[in-house]
Amino acid sequence: MNINTDYFYFARLLLQSYRQTKFSVLMLMGALIIATSGLSAVLIINHSAKQSYQQDNTYLLPNVSHQIVAVNSSQKLTKQDYAELKKRGFNELVAYATSKHRIYHNNALGLVNRVSVTGIDFVSALTMLGFQQGMQGKQTSPDVNLLGLAFSSDVAFSHPRLLANLAPASGTTNPKLTLDSPQGPILPRLQAFDNAGLGNDVVLDINRYFSLLPEAELSGLLWVSQSPQHNDARLSSLSAQLPKHLTVLAMTSGEQQGELTESFHLNLFAMALLMFVVCLFIVLNAVNLLLNARMPWLKISRQLGIGRRAVFMVQIAELVLLNLVACSLGIVLGIYLANLVSPTVQATLANLYNVDVGFGHVSFWSLFVQVLAISLLGSLAALALPVIQLNKTLSHVKTPPLGSKQQRQWQIVTFGLALLLALVSFLLLSFATQLWLLLIAVACLILCGCALLLISYSAMLSIFCRFIPARLVLLRLSVKQSIALSSKAKIACCAFFIAATSNIGMNLMVDSFRAATLSWLDTRLVADYYLYYTGDTDLSQLAKQENIGISKRYEKYIDYQGLRIQLYSYPSTDTFKHAMVFYQINDKTQAWQNFENHQGVFVNQQFAFYYHVGLGDTVRLSHPISEQLTSYKIEGVVYDFGSPNKQVLLPISSFDAKLSASSLYALEGSPEQIKAFSLKLGSYGIDVQNNLIKTAELLARSMQTFDRTFLITDGLNVVTLLVAALSLACAIVVLSKDLKPQNMLIRSLGVSRFKLQIMGLFQFLLLCLVALIFATPFGILLSWVLINDVNYHAFQWTYPLKVDVFTLLNIYVVSLSVVLLIILIPTFKASRKPLIEDIRWLN
């Protein structure tokens, strides 16, 4: 037989074998599709979110390098400032105004989240773009045409998906969209514009914006760089001519957000990778299953003279082809999944980092190449073990069972590996500060657990077996069979251990975070109501008239060591003193005394961790009133979950109402008093419905936001667990063939089919239970690492780890239920066959 004929005949044989190996091929394809869809969904989400930050706040304009804003929120950027700068020849400036609103569609709330409505000076933008393109000798671009359209007709832009979310049922017809209430200002016709810079924005001409929102103010002036050579000189000239209350800022806020959001993406990517790795365990088991099912064919092929090389090459080519098909399907599914979870991801990013994320463009082909390369590498790695096994079988090399000395050697090597992994993990956790290194440390920690599990699995099961009375013979037998299975299903058990450890770790982390946030909010929110208001009306007088206690929070942004930080006022009444939740404090009485005497400040964890300062350290800050550098001692570090900002708390007397803005008021009064107060607020045009919130409602809303934030993590956790259970199911199908003689024998001894099925389930559930028990300390450790190292570096906050027995039990129940659900089918299928068939098969 010549070589080409070998390949041809063997390939034909493989194709024909598909009739009998449908299940294995489907399992393999399923695993690959799950792995590639998960991976591509995360890649799409990450890519489009990153694209979105890069273009965030540039509102469709290219080459925006800087912007002009007010130095502090008490002195505003005005239209006169804009006109004056234009008059001085700074035509690179394009004014914009932006504000957040709830949008109503045909009298109903279109989206729960608020949407940014942004007005842009399209006349300047058009002039700028036309000028730039003229300079570059280009034809008018579609962007210019669209801006022209917006200017000439009454049109606003939004991303097609935001448009679909805002008015899902309206299709192409023009829906009636109003701002803040069904009776609010009506938005112009929305035109879909597929641009990554358009995230959660509705963009329209600035004149139209002010006609809708006459009270609104300019937010900033975008600096559109005209020529790179003269940009710096022009900017210097602009800086020199700026009035005192204005300042030039580089568009760096995106970078700052980028750093923070990078950690979120890294976490998301790490979880997707974890799922991918667990999927590869399925691939490995499915390949094993496939090769097992094919073994008679393979042996016959070899007996007929088909070369071993042909046998391997054709099967590798088959895997590549299956990968190609699975990748295509997986990416399509991934795109669908990414679309499905985009609103949740956007909400998560908005909640965690206060950034608006839009919808990016991802090239199908670049995604296909990336995902195919990763999945091919993974599949080939997963193929290695079964192929080595197959090679041994086909070349009739029998692997003798390990002797006790070899077993001990194997255990020592594995233990050494576990120690090495633990050491690497410890060193990385102690010294590394980069998030990707910390994630590697976490991976080392989990792998160390895997190695220890492999060494001690049978010992743990043997201990368990000792406690079973001899009269429970079937139970003892089941446990002994589990011990035997543990060495045969090592890989599947490891996959389950990895999934269980990450599940316990993530769940405990989220649970601890939830408990910390709830307790923090519960203590912190002491007022009866909170009002969000940024206008100029003096609310203190209005509140006094209704005998309502009102505390205003003053806010000022200052530069500190190259970053913008928040200076917030904090009342020092007894109620508010009790409401403060400290992460670190020495003597509370002394600390409050120093705070009230302007000698000490409280900083949030984000500030303390970022600048590496703690209790007793001195910080030099610009005073909110005098703007002179003043030294303050850090008297306490406070929790401030959910905020990406570095914050310093000062007493109210450190602020001047004229120099500092305010956006939050704490109100204390009865519901009747608040009702009367809200009527007064309404008469001043203040949107009471959306901005005056009862504390209990605020708490509920915050916790809903919290739960939404971790929806993706929860989802990925369950998927990882499902995938691990699938891997186990694959292993069961392979092992059930080995277990057939034993099961047949037990049936022939008069053990009922039902008992045998229960035995089968028990054996695998026991393996999972032991893996879960073993995973528990590792999960707790993982959770501690996530909170104190990964969170510390990613979010700059930590919180106490709470190990709740009920949470652990819940994880046990959920994990075992998922496994039970998945292995139920193969286990019952295996024992459903009449005993006679098994006996005939054996004979």
Binding site: R471, K480, L745, L842, N843
Partner: protein, 226 residues
């Protein structure tokens, strides 16, 4: 006592019905041993499967009398069949089919525990009779083929069943071991007054039993007896 009357069993092949056993009748006294020989596909194993309630006949009567208890194997439900196998029956397979993750003694204990007829002194005697008492703490894989089959015999007799069915128990053994194991099987059954139905291709093994039958055209023909 084992009584089979007018037994019929057929299999449906792709297009035709193949009659395997037709009008088969036999009576075996308690404690007697019979051997059944025949060509491949003649229905020897099918008959054993019917006696083990692993399969159902088309028609006929299959009765196993155990003291006061009488089992009509045709009418047993699945749970009754399980119970019958658990207490009245011992099966020996060609492949020893020992459970490899438990020791020799635990393998033998298993049916005694399941039938709740645990008698340690009887088991000790059985192991000694079969010459495997010294291996009782070893794992099956540490024994030779002949030793493993002896363990299988001990397991089949551990719960003192009324009937032992052996399907070519020496098929995997060499001549010397086959002779030893079959002699042990027949003698131990005799000693325990257990009825033995032994299916074999070997004339030598068949000659050890009280009655030797041949299965021809679906019916049993007595070829010789002791």
């Amino acid at each position: 006592m084992l009584s089979i009357k007018n037994l019929y069993k057929s299999y449906q092949d792709a297009e035709e019905t193949r009659l395997i056993l037709q009008d088969l009748s036999i009576e075996v006294a308690q404690g007697a041993s019979i051997s059944i020989q025949g060509e491949s596909g003649s229905g020897k194993s099918t008959l054993l499967h019917l006696l083990a309630t692993l399969d159902k006949p088309d028609s006929g009567e299959l009765i196993v009398q155990s003291g006061e208890q009488r089992f009509n194997l045709l009418n047993l439900s699945e749970s009754q069949a399980d119970e019958y196998r658990k207490r009245q029956l011992g099966i020996i397979f060609q492949k020893y089919n020992l459970i490899d993750c438990i020791s020799v003694y635990e393998n033998v204990l298993l049916p005694a525990h399941l039938s709740q007829k645990l008698d340690p002194s009887y088991l000790q005697g059985l192991l000694s009779t079969l010459g495997i008492a010294v291996y009782k703490h070893k794992l099956p894989e540490q024994l030779s083929g002949g030793e493993q089959q002896r363990v299988a015999i001990a397991r089949a007799l551990a719960h003192q069943p009324q009937l032992v069915l052996a399907d070519e128990p020496t098929g995997n053994l060499d001549h010397k071991n086959a002779a030893i194991v079959s002699r042990l099987l027949v003698d131990t059954c005799k000693q325990l007054n257990t009825t033995l139905v032994l299916v074999t291709h070997s004339e030598k093994v068949a000659n050890l039993t009280d009655y030797q039958y041949r299965l021809v055209n679906g019916a049993l023909q007595l070829s010789s007896s002791k």
